[in-house]
């Protein structure tokens, strides 16, 4: 009896601790409950697996970019060996994030091959035309223009294709336009030779508005060695008709000549500006990308989930209704069938709920919709153990045993099959947790934790509460434990 009393105090202590934890460390809610966006980024590698180092390198670049974007309370974590998950809580548009994160931002400085001036001029001309066509196209889309307008664009495109001696393979007009633009970009890049100066030599990037017009330019600051390289490169082409190209992800964003006055020392001072007709937004995106450095491997955004804040709070409410009504009906069912025993199981279910939630805030487990359904489902499974025990107790009572003896042997005999029966569920949870997506992991975690806690509450807490009840003489009548009094003695 003494030992049981010890357990009673222990349980009360745990309950107090749980309540304390829940008050001081509120539960973390997933995005489906508080609203927000979640992006899954897939690292693309043509051959072989993504190594741990590569994953970390990508992670740190993305992390820097997210920070530089000024997104508040974002959360970035890796998933599996080659995915990253970025969570943006609240009403933050994932569009900007996706634009900034998706680019590799590989910055190169290249010098023009000798004797290619004519080719370059021609290509620059084509690039201008194709850019104009793309603008016209998006204008045509917005203003619902008639087909003649589109036809004109199509004809212009044909002219450009002829000039380039290249025919596009895309199906729709927009695809064709983009394809031709890519082709021109590639051809231009091919006219330039790689140098050993790249985005790695940057220590900072910034932006400012150009003095003469409303366009923006991006400022690059080189490291010491980068500055030397830049001086060396500019020196080599100063006063010639070779140009210096700044190439971002294979697209030349600026081609500039270096004046004769730099022929002796090159451009020193360790900085450069790119002025390529940037809008304020574009300049900021480029700044963020350059500050974060280039990604060692390209990434692709493969999944985006967005949940409005209102829907999130609705989801919380719905889950709460489901959980509470589930608890109430299970409680009614148990009390109806098992009287006092049923009441005991309701009490231990309540304890079960508190312990579960407290553990979520302690570990911490982020609560999501599937997570909540795992918790609600585990209510049913937690009662399972109680039913096994109570059935045994009933049998013992029918066999004419005393109450105390029945309770003791009921718990004892049901023990092994309870532990046993939970193993298969735990096995499933374990596999789900190892192999599942984030979404599925939430379910596996809460169900698994629930099954483990239910071992404690249904075996230990139920027994302790029941023992406590039976210390009162008035609660020791057998008919309080059996709904039908059709048994002898």
């Amino acid at each position: 009896m003494k030992r049981r009393q010890g357990w009673l105090f222990f349980i009360i202590f745990l309950l107090t601790l749980s309540v304390y934890l829940l008050i001081n460390y509120p539960l973390q809610l997933g995005l489906d409950l508080q609203g927000g966006s979640q992006l899954t980024l897939q690292i693309i590698k043509e051959e072989g697996k993504v190594t741990r180092d590569e994953l970390e390198a990508v992670n740190s670049v993305i992390d820097k970019r997210v920070n530089n974007l000024g997104v508040s309370e974002s959360n970035l974590q890796t998933l599996g060996g080659d995915q990253l998950i970025l969570e943006l809580p609240g009403e933050q548009n994932p569009l900007v994030a996706s634009r900034v994160l998706g680019k590799t931002a590989l910055l190169e400085f290249r010098t023009q091959k000798e004797g290619t001036s004519k080719d370059l001029k021609n290509l620059q001309l084509q690039r201008l035309s194709i850019k104009e066509l793309i603008e016209q196209y998006s204008f045509a889309e917005k203003s619902q223009n008639d087909d003649n307008f589109l036809k004109a664009i199509q004809d212009d495109l044909k002219d450009i294709e002829q000039e380039l001696n290249y025919s596009s393979t895309s199906n729709d007009l927009y695809g064709k336009l983009i394809e031709i633009k890519r082709y021109v970009d590639k051809e231009i890049t091919n006219l330039f030779i790689k140098t050993d100066l790249s985005g790695k030599d940057l220590i900072n990037a910034g932006r400012r508005q150009e003095q003469t017009n409303s366009n923006w330019e991006v400022l690059l600051t080189f490291s010491n060695s980068g500055g030397e390289k830049f001086a060396e490169i500019t020196k080599s082409i100063a006063g010639t008709n070779q140009l210096l190209a700044i190439i971002l992800d294979g697209e030349s964003i600026s081609e500039a000549s270096v004046g004769n006055q730099f022929a002796s020392t090159g451009i020193t001072g360790g900085s450069a500006t790119i002025s390529g007709n940037f809008s304020a937004e574009n300049a900021r995106e480029l700044e963020v990308q350059l500050k974060g450095g280039s990604l060692p491997l390209p990434i692709e955004i493969v999944e985006t989930n967005t949940i409005g804040a209102l829907l999130g709070s609705k989801n919380i409410l719905k889950s709460l209704y489901a959980a509470i009504s589930g608890l109430i009906f299970v409680g009614i069912f148990m009390i109806f069938n098992y009287r006092i025993l049923g009441f005991v199981s309701v009490l231990s279910l309540l304890l079960y709920g508190f312990f579960n939630l407290a553990l979520y805030s302690l570990i911490p487990v982020t609560l999501t919709l599937p997570g909540i359904s795992g918790l609600i489902l585990s209510i049913g499974m937690a009662v399972d153990a109680n039913i096994l025990i109570f059935e045994r107790i009933r049998e013992e009572l029918y066999d004419g045993n005393t109450l105390t003896r029945s309770i003791d042997s009921g718990f004892q005999r049901a023990n092994s099959s309870i532990v046993d029966g939970h193993i298969t569920t735990l096995l499933s949870c374990f596999v789900l947790f190892l192999l599942g997506t984030n979404f599925v992991k939430g379910f596996a975690a809460t169900l698994g934790i629930g099954v483990l806690i239910s071992l404690f509450t249904s075996l230990n807490c139920s027994k302790t509460i029941l023992r406590f009840f039976t210390t009162y003489q008035s609660l020791r009548q057998k008919n309080l434990y059996l709904p039908n009094n059709n048994f002898s003695n």
């Binding site: 489906d32 897939q42 009403e91 569009l95 359904s373 298969t424 096995l427």
Partner: protein, 304 residues
């Protein structure tokens, strides 16, 4: 309160009934594989094939006006840049015309934003706070599918291993037979739901199958334990002992199923729509699982 299920008498009926259910499931799976537009054993949802799913509410003063999806699509087609993809849009109004639910092939975030802006222009204002949007690339979908199938196979293997170690061969065989019976029937029901109501299965369906597997085996283990225990101690014949054991554990098995079904029913009735089919699959699994644990698995143990 004693139960008296006449297992021995009804063995033939039980086995025929289960065979019938299995055949019906297989028929659904075959029909779904060869005779539907998607040509898969089950109608795979967005999680597995990729795509864009958007749900958003309209802001209406009192009642939302009745709109025909076709006219909205027609308007969308006129102002969208990509004319082709409109042909693959599925647009529905739910909840007294208040909720717009749209399915399209995969879109980039930018395209999806454009779609929402266009919708806002046509049938706005929209309540952005109520937005629920999911974009899944086709690559990720394939990967999720492989992932789910792998998890299912791995955990079935783990459960089989556990059962074989724990019981001797005959018991293990029948427990596993009952397990596959349960999974096949739930799978079959969803195949039919896909054919008839175009219900799709997502990764949560795989989760429910896994949970059912754990639960169903658990149920069977309890009854088989009882049978083994009684076979050691009771004087009656083999078949009679089995029948007796089933009747002894009948209350326990039905009660646990009921207490597990009650919370699931609460989720179906009150919970978020995204958990509806998941909870339904689990409920069906638990019902079929209890049936197979109480009636089918022990019947298979009976000697002629």
């Amino acid at each position: 309160m004693k139960y008296n299920l006449e297992l021995i008498k009804n063995k033939r009926k039980i086995i025929s009934f289960s065979t019938f259910l299995i055949l019906l499931s297989l028929l659904g799976i075959l029909y779904s594989t060869f005779n539907t537009s998607y040509k898969k054993p089950i109608n795979l949802g967005m999680d597995f094939v990729g795509g864009n799913e958007l749900r958003i509410e309209r802001v209406c003063e009192e009642e939302c006006s009745n709109l025909s999806p076709d006219s909205v699509l027609e308007n969308l087609r006129e102002i969208s840049s990509n004319k082709n993809f409109i042909n693959n849009i599925n647009l529905q109004f739910q909840n007294n015309n208040k909720l717009i639910s749209i399915r399209t092939p995969y879109l980039s975030i930018e395209e999806s934003n454009n779609l929402i802006t266009n919708l806002d222009n046509i049938i706005g204002p929209l309540n952005y706070e109520s937005k629920d949007s999911r974009l899944i690339g086709p690559k990720l979908g394939k990967r999720l599918l492989t992932n789910c199938v792998t998890s299912l196979l791995v955990s079935l293997f783990a459960i089989s291993l556990y059962i074989t170690i724990r019981f001797d061969k005959k018991y293990a065989l029948f427990a596993l037979l009952a397990l596959f019976h349960d999974l096949l029937i739930v799978f079959g029901i969803f195949s039919w739901l896909g054919i008839i109501l175009s219900v799709e299965v997502n990764s949560l369906f795989a989760v429910s199958l896994l949970t059912i597997a754990g639960y169903s085996v658990n149920d069977t283990v309890v009854i088989f334990d009882r049978i083994r225990e009684n076979l050691k101690s009771k004087e009656e014949g083999y078949n009679e002992t089995i029948q007796l054991s089933v009747n002894e554990s009948f209350r326990r098995t039905t009660f646990t199923s009921i207490t597990t079904l009650i919370p699931l029913l609460s989720i179906i009735l009150f919970g978020s729509y995204s958990l509806f089919w998941f909870s339904l699959a689990l409920s069906l699994g638990i019902i079929v699982g209890s049936y197979s644990s109480i009636l089918l698995a022990p019947s298979l143990l009976l000697k002629n």
